[in-house]
């Protein structure tokens, strides 16, 4: 698992029930848009994340798209993060480098 993916999943799991906008996730996961959106697209393609458009607001603001982990996404995210944490405990990685044997 890559570092950005780990941070996105951690951000989602902070409140799995809460719908999150792309910009909120950027701030929470500390990822730039060019990294976050491809990740979200991939997670959505794997049906781990679901997205929906908010209802148009009266003040003329354009509706935004929000994302939420699916039930399967919550399960996989918890599992992946637990595994990543266990891997880190077994083999401490250098900062910025994935631990040996990790998916990232």
């Amino acid at each position: 698992m890559t570092g950005p993916l780990e941070r996105v999943l951690t951000a989602f799991l902070a409140d799995p029930a809460a719908p999150r906008y792309g910009y909120d996730l950027m701030k929470a996961a500390r990822l730039p848009s060019g990294t976050l959106y491809p990740l979200l697209a991939r997670l959505e393609h794997q049906k781990l994340v679901a997205s929906a458009w908010e209802t148009p607001q009266q003040d003329g603001q354009r509706p935004r798209k929000y994302y939420q982990l699916t039930a399967e996404g919550i399960r996989v995210a918890r599992l992946e993060l637990a595994q990543a944490s266990a891997r880190r405990r077994r083999a401490p990685a250098r900062p910025g480098h994935p631990a040996p044997g990790s998916l990232g």
Partner: protein
Amino acid sequence: MKGERQLLRLGEVLVGWACQRLPPEVREERCREWAAELPAILHDPQVRPAPRRAARMLAYAADTLRGTALAPGSTRRRSPRMFAALDQLFPVAGLVVVALNIWKIVQAPGNMENYLWMLWGLLLVAYLTRKRVSPAGRMTALLGISATLALGAVFLGNAAQAPEDWVNYFFAALLILPLLVGLPLAWWLRSVQARIGGRHAAPSDPWTF
């Protein structure tokens, strides 16, 4: 905020460019999504002062360009036939410039201008070749900047030889000034983006799970 509409418009233009690289089936939705985030970033109450919000919004829009350039399925807008022909023609023209100036250097080794033209031809060919392999790569950008600077140097050299001819100053300024403004701006936007969260982003393909 003063100039808010113009800023939003600029952000939308950047997002529009990014969307052009996406596959047609997702293009419109992504474009709508990213464009809708721009005013939200520009009005984010957690970020102060206003110029910081503006920088964030522009960094957000600019980074969508990077993201779509990295996407394996990204598609550029189909070039009209004329542009496709130019794509083939430019490297040939670059090689012709190199050959011609090698011949000129042999004839008059003391003329600095010929060396600059040859350097520009070589850099142009290298840039165009590299662009085909890695359109968004760092080396491609470096070669493009170097080629532009070399051409600017050619015009500056001409201006030194013929100070009364304003055309040389004009073309030198046209080539060099955008770089002088654009490069620090790009560096600044990059640092802003890193502060938002790009500092620890993986340098590898972000589409990799």
